[in-house]
């Protein structure tokens, strides 16, 4: 069974979570080029490596950040938004 650790609710089966994609800061829509905006809207980074991702523990609706090595499929750490120390 795959496990994920919610910063609030603890370690639970992965079936209690949903993945909401890599954290990607949005460019300023008022100043960026069309190409830059189109890249942000349509393209995703599929290269394996350590990524920061949004995850949600659905029974409690707790949103948090997981740092995950997508090459080794290992979760390195999880924390709430704003707790990145």
């Amino acid at each position: 069974m795959k496990l994920m650790t919610c910063p609030i609710n603890g370690t639970r089966p992965i079936s209690e979570f949903v993945y909401w994609g890599e954290i990607r800061p949005a460019p300023d829509a008022n100043t960026c080029t069309d190409d830059r905006w189109a890249d942000y809207v349509f393209n995703r980074n599929g290269a394996p490596g350590v990524k920061k991702e949004w995850w949600c523990h659905t029974p409690s609706n707790t949103w948090f950040i997981a740092e995950r090595d997508t090459e080794k499929d290992k979760v390195l750490r999880t924390y709430l938004h704003g707790d990145d120390k």
């Binding site: 609030i8 609710n9 639970r12 209690e16 029974p59 409690s60 609706n61």
Partner: protein, 221 residues
């Protein structure tokens, strides 16, 4: 019996099994399913406590707002307390609270009638609320949920939010004179499925559904 003003979210799932009805807190609920209710409760019984009035609130100002209404709040996230009048107060995560009255209590009604202050957001609660009791209660949870209910300590007053047969639930453990029991809350729209599935598993364990008459004091506290 006058027309009920509230209907249990489990009514459709219970209608064909019920043998006697009652209306606690104005909600149409099952008083008895049959002569086996008491035996079910001894082995593993599932009761419907949806009739108890409850209200929810969330936000950074929620704890202070509840305090202004005379409602105590747990200090730790994911914990619960019982007020001296029997009211259950659950802290769900960091800043969300579920308040459930004992029969005759007025905290939930007062919350719904009071305008929320800054940073306070009402959370409508139309939960299906269940109780699981009996000597095989833990075994029932083991067959239906990946979370280990043995870690839910009545003394530590821990709240677990997890998934049971695919339904998001909030769970606590309570001590009673008749042993440990578990209280569950879930979205009312999933209630019939959760109820039917748990009853099916409970029957395999020698138990089943239990009406409010056999639950007795368990339904009151």
């Amino acid at each position: 019996m006058s027309a009920p003003v509230r209907v249990s979210p489990l009514l459709d799932a219970q209608r064909s099994q019920a043998s006697k009805w009652t209306q606690p807190e104005g909600m149409q609920s099952v008083a008895a399913f049959g002569p086996g209710d008491a035996a079910h409760l001894h082995q593993v019984g599932i009761g419907d406590l949806s009739f108890r009035r409850r209200a929810g609130v969330k936000g950074t100002g929620a704890a202070a707002w509840l305090k202004s209404l005379g409602i105590e709040t747990p200090e730790r996230p994911n914990s619960w307390l019982r007020m001296p009048d029997g009211t259950l107060v659950l802290r769900l995560g960091m800043t969300e609270f579920l308040v459930e009255d004992v029969p005759g209590g007025g905290h939930a009604a007062r919350m719904q009638a009071t305008a929320p202050s800054h940073g306070v957001y009402p959370v409508p609660r139309f939960d299906a609320s269940l109780v699981i009791a009996g000597r095989e209660a833990l075994e029932l949870t083991r067959q239906t949920c990946a979370f280990d209910f043995a870690t839910l300590s009545p003394q530590a007053q821990t709240v677990a939010m997890t998934s049971m047969v695919g339904v998001g639930i909030t769970a606590i453990a309570l001590n009673g004179s008749d042993g440990l029991r578990y209280r569950l809350w879930c979205d009312g729209t999933y209630g019939s499925y959760l109820w039917s599935t748990l009853v099916e598993v409970a029957r395999d364990l020698g138990g089943g559904e239990v009406g409010l008459d056999a639950l007795g004091r368990i339904a009151q506290v």
